[in-house]
Every structure is written in structure tokens, then in C-alpha cells.
């Protein structure tokens, strides 16, 4: 997708900037400090460092899944869809009800009694995820129709405010007693968590037993999140690059009037974009809930915000950008939590964002600014 610039910058060759060395010195100093922090800690305790990296990866891959929705929607309608994080929350809640109220994940066992246990769990879990994705898609499309579409001709900010309104509404309507209730609900996972540790090969951690010193632990959820996130990336790349609707999406994001002239149904493309983003947010919500196993109605605010920052960092509108940005955010957070202090993590994340934007004004993968015709 294409980032269309709103701020033209001159391309005329002017004389070399003076005093540039001061700024460069500053950047180098900051970079050296960061490098020193990372490397010194890596040398001090490489195992602990690896453990932080693993948790950063888990966080990063979840962010990546949410960031996709932000980046695609922004790429097409230039709207920061603040309600996206709440779609993510609804995804988590739908799966919660499916699993603990309706035992949906058990259906293969009831339908095919002879089925092997492993296969039943896999099919059951996938059904739950699909259900969440479908509900999220329906919700996102409704939101788009009701709240955003009528404002497509209005100033951009009006749509942004409605996005905030929708977000508030979902959070506090969801918190009513007869909807999701305001409680922090422990989440029943559709499958068991298995953890391993790495030390002289991979060993499984049994219940109540501590892994030996100097070992790196990880769980099956980590693997699932990584696989799902990568799969989603490839799927999206394929969707956007090689399918008809993907081409329509790119055309719409590039130039709406021209796309319409080419016979593309712009409204349907936009709805479709919202739907795809919501589907991945729903999937992300399920995986997030499974990983951290506690849900409440404001669960989506912060992951949503972080994912958006990640999308900006990677270059908003760019799909690989969202992916890379999310991974960087995940690492920055985990390492800050590990080596500086948890409260400073947002400060570090935003500092990285600002510095990256100063060096590359459209983010890491953002297409360079182009003059508005």
C-alpha cells in the first residue's frame, strides 16, 4: 500500500546544511548509549537476555497482528481507527464465551467420538478462532457502515472522534452487567499450555518443577503465536499482491477517484479492508487471551495503542513495516522492562519512534514522501 504524503518537502538541491555534525553527534551518543546498555547486559548474562528476547518476540508478534488492521485501514481511508483495539477485545470475549459457556472447542469429540485427542484439540481451537474472527468481521463492518461511512466526506477529524466514541462505547457498554460484565475474568484455555526449557537440548517442564538454572523457557503458545502471525503476514502479502481484491485495495489507497473511474467499487473495498483487519484483530484477541488468560473490557486499549505506534514506526500503510515495527516495539518493551524499569518502557518506545521518524520521516518501510499533484 502507498503512503500519500500530506507534507511536501522540497527536493531542490540546496547548499549543504551547516552545523549538521551537532545533531549527528547527538544521535550517535544516543545510539551508543542504547548499544552499550544492550551489549553490556548481553555479555553479563546471555541466558537472561535470551529469555527477555523470547518474551519480547511473543509480545511483538501479537502487536504485529493488531498492527496490520491499523496499517491497512490507515493506508486506505487515512483514519486512525481507535476502535480497532476494542474489536480485538471483543474477539477475546467471543472466544471466552465459546469455550467456557458453550464448550465449542469440544465439538469434534462429541461429533466424532473416535477422533484422536490431539486432532480434536486442534480442530476445536481453530473453530473457536474462526468464530471469533467471524464475529469481529461482522462487528467491524457494522461499525464501518454506521459510524465511518457517513463521514467519508466530512473532515478526517470527525471520523477520528467517532472512532474514539465507538471505542468508549464498546468498552463501557461491554462493561454493563448483562453484556460482558465489568469483571476481570479468568480465561479458560481451549488447550493445555506446555512449556519447555532449553539447556542441553529441549526438555519439557513438568508441573511444579522449576527449570534448571541458566535455561531459556518457552511455551506452545509462543510457538502458536509466532506461527499464526507469520502465516497471517504471508496470507496478507498474497492477498494484497496477487488477488483481484488486493489490487483493488492498493489502487483505492493510491488514488480513490481514479480507482472509482477504473470501475472499482471503492466502498466495498473499504469495507473489505475493515473486515480483513478485524479478522486478524479477532484472531489476535483469541491468541492474546490464551497467552495471558485474563480478560476484561478495557483489555484492548493498550495493545491497540502499542500496535498503532508499531505500525507508525514501521511506516504506516506498509504491511511488512507493521510487522517489523511490531517486532521492534516488542523487543524495546521487553528489554526496557528487563534492564531499565517497567515504567520507563513507554518512554523508551516513544523515544525510539520519534528518533526513527526524525531520521526517516515516513517510518522504516514507509514509501518516501512524494509531491502532491
Amino acid at each position: 500500500m502507498q503512503k500519500v504524503s500530506s507534507q511536501p518537502s522540497p527536493v531542490i538541491h540546496e547548499p549543504k546544511a551547516s552545523l549538521a555534525w551537532i545533531g549527528q553527534l547527538f544521535l550517535v551518543a544516543v545510539a551508543l548509549l542504547a548499544l552499550y546498555l544492550v551489549v553490556s547486559n548481553l555479555i553479563k548474562n546471555p541466558i537472561l537476555f535470551t529469555q527477555f528476547v523470547v518474551s519480547g518476540l511473543q509480545l511483538g508478534f501479537v502487536y504485529a497482528m493488531i498492527a496490520l488492521g491499523y496499517t491497512m485501514v490507515y493506508g486506505i481511508v487515512k483514519l486512525i481507527n481507535f476502535a480497532h483495539g476494542d474489536v480485538f477485545m471483543v474477539g477475546a470475549f467471543v472466544s471466552f464465551y465459546a469455550v467456557s459457556r458453550f464448550n465449542l472447542h469440544k465439538w469434534p469429540e462429541t461429533a466424532f467420538p473416535g477422533i484422536s485427542e490431539g486432532l480434536a484439540v486442534v480442530i476445536g481451537s481453530i473453530t473457536v478462532m474462526l468464530l471469533s474472527m467471524i464475529v469481529c468481521v461482522m462487528m467491524a463492518v457494522t461499525i464501518e457502515r454506521v459510524a465511518y461511512k457517513p463521514l467519508r466526506d466530512a473532515p478526517r477529524i470527525a471520523a477520528l472522534i467517532t472512532a474514539i466514541g465507538v471505542s468508549f462505547f464498546l468498552e463501557f457498554f461491554g462493561a454493563l452487567n448483562f453484556v460482558f460484565s465489568p469483571r476481570f475474568i479468568p480465561y479458560d484455555r481451549p488447550f493445555e499450555v506446555v512449556a519447555w526449557y532449553i539447556k542441553d537440548g529441549i526438555h519439557r517442564i513438568t508441573e511444579g518443577q522449576a527449570p534448571p538454572d541458566n535455561s531459556v523457557t518457552f511455551s506452545n503458545i509462543f510457538i502458536i503465536i509466532v506461527l499464526a502471525s507469520i502465516l497471517v503476514q504471508f496470507f496478507l502479502q498474497f492477498l494484497v499482491r496477487s488477488t483481484k481484491i488486493g489490487i483493488a485495495m492498493r489502487a483505492t489507497s493510491f488514488d480513490k477517484p481514479a480507482a472509482r473511474l477504473m470501475g472499482i467499487e471503492v466502498d466495498r473495498v473499504i469495507s473489505f479492508t475493515f473486515a480483513v483487519g478485524a479478522a486478524f484483530a479477532g484472531l489476535g484477541g483469541v491468541l492474546y487471551a490464551i497467552a495471558y488468560s485474563s480478560i476484561y473490557t478495557q483489555l484492548g486499549i493498550l495493545p491497540g495503542l502499542k500496535a498503532f505506534v508499531a505500525a507508525v514506526l514501521g511506516g504506516i500503510g506498509s504491511i511488512p513495516g507493521a510487522f517489523v515495527g511490531a517486532l521492534i516495539m516488542g523487543q524495546a518493551e521487553a528489554l526496557t522492562m528487563g534492564y531499565i524499569s517497567t515504567p520507563m518502557r513507554d518512554a523508551v518506545a516513544f523515544t525510539i519512534l520519534i528518533i526513527v521518524l526524525l531520521v526517516r520521516p515516513t517510518g522504516i518501510f514507509g514509501e518516501p514522501e512524494k509531491e502532491k499533484a
Binding site: A17, S18, L151, F172, L358
Partner: protein
């Protein structure tokens, strides 16, 4: 009787809007005497309603006066944001951070003063003055060079400000040392702790806090304003979040044990009266209106309309943006300072980024680039959400108050869908009618998106 309250809260919203209309009309009158009389009368009406008891109770009770003060501070913050976003076109979510900086700075000054420590006032006072001088000097130095990269000038300003701060800390502490006897302690106040001295300190605290917020916004805005519009928005959102983190850790990361971090700062003298709130709100309105009318104002507007054309006209885009941003943050800082001394207690929970969307909502409610709209929306919003909705829902049983933040977003959605250009759109009242300026951005953007969407 209960329904009477509901009716009264509706009437209050209408009355306050009518009051604003009258005030702006009087201020816009050509006769000097009507102007002065109008302002004095405008002050006196509310002052009387607040303090003169009729039949045992005043017309405006504490509940109303609380809403009134909150509306005044919100109006200052929102006006600042309207200058940055509505008039200058820079999508900023950092206003709430500057509001918090102003609140904490002013609160710390007066808190220390009543507890017999003058260092707050002198360190901040000397700091903002030295900071101003440094900024002026560095600016002069940088003008000798062409095309200095923004990061370089930022580094220079940053180093200069840190030095200025260190010097101010040293001088301020030593001056304060000499005043300890004059101030006395909280238990036995000295001569400088008299009510009149307190009012002067309070005034200085507000002004210094505002300038301090403005200088921080200068340092922050310098690099960040060079980013594109939405990138700028997300960076300023980051600013609000980081300021909040620092507030939470003000007693651990920052060296201010009296702020008590997440526990909240208690014991701030409640000095805000209607006089101060009215004075500062009026000052913000007059300053902003006059700046918009001046050539600076036209530069600010032209940057919003078309940066390329503005550049062609010889307008320095970067410094115009910075000017609007710093001025807007100054207003936010003033608003924060007034707020801190109204509520007498500061907690980081007030300054989270989610609450920080409120000024943006108000500015859009009132209409971008409409000062009247912003002021009216600030009052209307508080009196609706905290006044009317509260009164209405608490009478509908014990379950209903949970619906307050369900109804509020619905109202928000409906309003945006019905009037995307804001409640008052283009309308300006009396004094605030600004000639020569057409608000074409909305129309232009609308036609652009209409063509493409």
C-alpha cells in the same frame, strides 16, 4: 423536586451559553465603556451568584461552581489546542501533558511556599527567565547559519536549557535559603505567608507554570513538528504518556517527594477563585483573538491552508508552527495551574492519555477554528456530562449511573454524524468575529474526500 433539578441543569446550560454570548457581545462593542462595563458585569454576575445567598442558599452551589471552574480550565486548554489544531492544522494529542506540567509546576511552587520553602518559586522563576534568555541567544546564534538540521538546533537548545536549569537551581536555592525566616513554617507562617502575599505568589506561580510548559513545548516541538501531521499526532500522544509516567514516578525517578508519585499530591492551597479563573480565561481569549487577528495569526492560518503557498509568500513554516504550538501549550499550562489550585489535590490519574482526548473532542465539538465554539463547547460539555447526565441518571435508580459512559459516546457519535463540522461550525460571536479569514480547510478537505471517497 428531583425533576426540578433536572430542569435547572438544562436551564443552566442555556444560561451559561447566553452568558458567554452576552460577554462576547459586550467585549465586541465599539464603545470602550460598554466593553469595560460588560466585562465587569460579567464577572460580577457570576461572583454574586456564587457568593450572595438568596433565601439561605446561593444561586450557584458548590456543585455548579466546581463545574464552572473545570469548564474555565478546560476552555483554556481547548483554546490552546484549537490554536494548534484548528487554526494551525497540527494534529496534537500532547495538550493534556502540558496541562499536567502546568498543574504540577504551579502546585509545587505554592505548596512549597506555604510550607516555608521559597525555592520552588525562585528556581522555577529564574529557570523560566534564564531558559527564555538561552532560547533567545541560541536562536540568534542559529540565525547566522543556513539550513541548520532540526536535530542540531534541538541539541543546542537542549544543552542550553539544561545549563540554564542548573544555574537557576543553584541561584534559586541560595535565594530561598535567605528567605526561610520570612516565610516561617506551615505551623507558624511568617510575614511573607500572609493572604495578600499568597495571592501574589499564586499569580506568579500560574504565570511561571504556563511559561515553563511553553518552554518544554518549545524543546519538544522543535524536532517533533518537523514530522508529518499524523506522525506528529502520535509523537505528541507519546509525550502525554511519558509525562504521565513521570508523574507516577515523581518521587522515585524525579526528585519530588512532596508530589508522592501515584499516591497523589495533597495539601495544595485552594487559591483559585472565580476572579482568577475569569481573569485568566479572559486573558487567554483576548491574547488568542488578538494574535489571530495579527499578521502572526494570518501566517498561522496560511500554514494550515497551504504550506507550499505560505512558503512562497515568505512565511517561515517551521517557526510559525512552533509559535502556535508553544502558545497553545502556554494556555494549557495556565489552565493546569488554575485547575491545580481549584481541586487542591493532584493525581496522575487525572492526566492519563485517555482523558487527554477530551480537549480534542471539545475542539471538534465546537468547530475547528472557531474560538466561540471552543469556549461554548467547553462549558456545554462539562455541564452536560458532569452536570445534566449525572443529575438525570442518579434519579433513575441504582443501576443507571453505569450507563453514563454508554450514553456519552452515543451522544458523541450522533453529534458527529449530524454535524461533522462541529456544533457552532463557522459562527463566531461578537468580540471574536475575526475579519479577513475564511475557513476553507474544511470545505477543501471535504471536496477532496468527496471526489475521492
Amino acid at each position: 423536586m428531583e425533576i426540578g433539578f433536572l430542569l435547572i441543569s438544562i436551564i443552566k446550560i442555556v444560561a451559561i451559553i447566553a452568558y458567554l454570548y452576552g460577554l462576547f457581545w459586550a467585549m465586541g462593542h465599539s464603545s470602550k465603556w460598554v466593553k469595560i462595563g460588560g466585562v465587569v458585569l460579567g464577572f460580577a454576575i457570576i461572583q454574586a451568584a456564587l457568593s450572595v445567598p438568596i433565601g439561605g442558599s446561593t444561586i450557584l452551589n458548590n456543585f455548579d461552581s466546581g463545574l464552572l471552574f473545570q469548564a474555565c480550565t478546560m476552555a483554556m486548554v481547548a483554546l490552546g489546542l484549537n490554536l494548534i489544531y484548528g487554526f494551525n492544522g497540527q494534529f496534537s494529542l500532547g495538550q493534556w501533558g502540558f496541562y499536567g506540567i502546568g498543574a504540577y509546576t504551579a502546585a509545587d511552587i505554592t505548596f512549597r511556599w506555604v510550607n516555608g520553602d521559597a525555592s520552588g518559586l525562585f528556581v522555577v522563576g529564574i529557570g523560566v527567565i534564564l531558559g527564555g534568555i538561552v532560547i533567545w541567544l541560541v536562536g540568534g546564534f542559529l540565525r547566522k547559519y543556513r539550513r541548520v538540521p532540526v536535530l542540531s538546533s534541538f541539541t543546542l537548545y537542549l544543552v542550553g536549557s539544561i545549563i540554564a536549569g542548573a544555574v537557576a537551581l543553584f541561584i534559586g536555592k541560595s535565594i530561598a535559603q535567605g528567605l526561610v525566616g520570612m516565610l516561617g513554617t506551615a505551623a507558624s507562617p511568617g510575614p511573607l505567608n500572609s493572604p495578600i502575599a499568597m495571592q501574589i505568589v499564586f499569580f506568579l506561580a500560574i504565570v511561571f507554570a504556563g511559561i515553563f510548559a511553553a518552554e518544554i513545548s518549545f524543546l519538544f516541538g522543535l524536532p517533533v513538528l518537523s514530522l508529518g501531521s499524523d506522525y506528529f499526532g502520535i509523537a505528541t500522544l507519546g509525550f502525554t504518556i511519558v509525562v504521565n509516567v513521570l508523574m507516577v514516578n515523581s518521587d522515585t525517578i524525579l526528585p519530588f517527594p512532596e508530589m508522592k508519585g501515584g499516591r497523589g499530591m495533597i495539601g495544595i492551597p485552594k487559591l483559585t477563585t472565580w476572579f482568577w479563573a475569569f481573569l485568566f480565561l479572559l486573558a487567554v481569549i483576548v491574547i488568542m483573538r488578538n494574535i489571530i487577528r495579527s499578521s502572526h495569526g494570518r501566517a498561522i492560518l496560511s500554514v494550515r491552508e497551504d504550506e507550499t503557498a505560505a512558503r512562497a509568500m515568505g512565511i517561515d513554516i517551521a517557526s510559525t508552527k512552533l509559535f502556535a504550538f508553544v502558545l497553545g501549550s502556554l494556555f494549557a499550562g495556565l489552565g493546569g495551574a488554575v485547575y491545580a489550585h481549584y481541586i487542591g489535590f493532584l493525581s496522575p490519574g487525572t492526566f492519563t492519555f485517555l482523558v487527554g482526548f477530551n480537549p480534542m473532542i471539545i475542539v471538534v465539538f465546537g468547530g475547528l477554528g472557531s474560538m466561540t465554539g471552543t469556549v461554548a463547547a467547553s462549558f456545554g460539555w462539562i455541564f452536560f456530562l458532569e452536570g445534566l447526565l449525572r443529575v438525570l441518571l442518579s434519579q433513575m435508580g441504582t443501576e443507571a449511573p453505569t450507563w453514563r459512559f454508554v450514553l456519552y459516546p452515543i451522544a458523541l457519535l450522533l453529534l458527529m454524524l449530524l454535524r461533522p463540522q462541529g456544533l457552532l461550525g463557522n459562527i463566531e460571536w461578537g468580540f471574536l468575529k475575526v475579519a479577513l479569514v475564511k475557513r476553507t480547510e474544511l470545505a477543501q478537505e471535504a471536496s477532496e474526500t468527496a471526489a475521492s471517497g
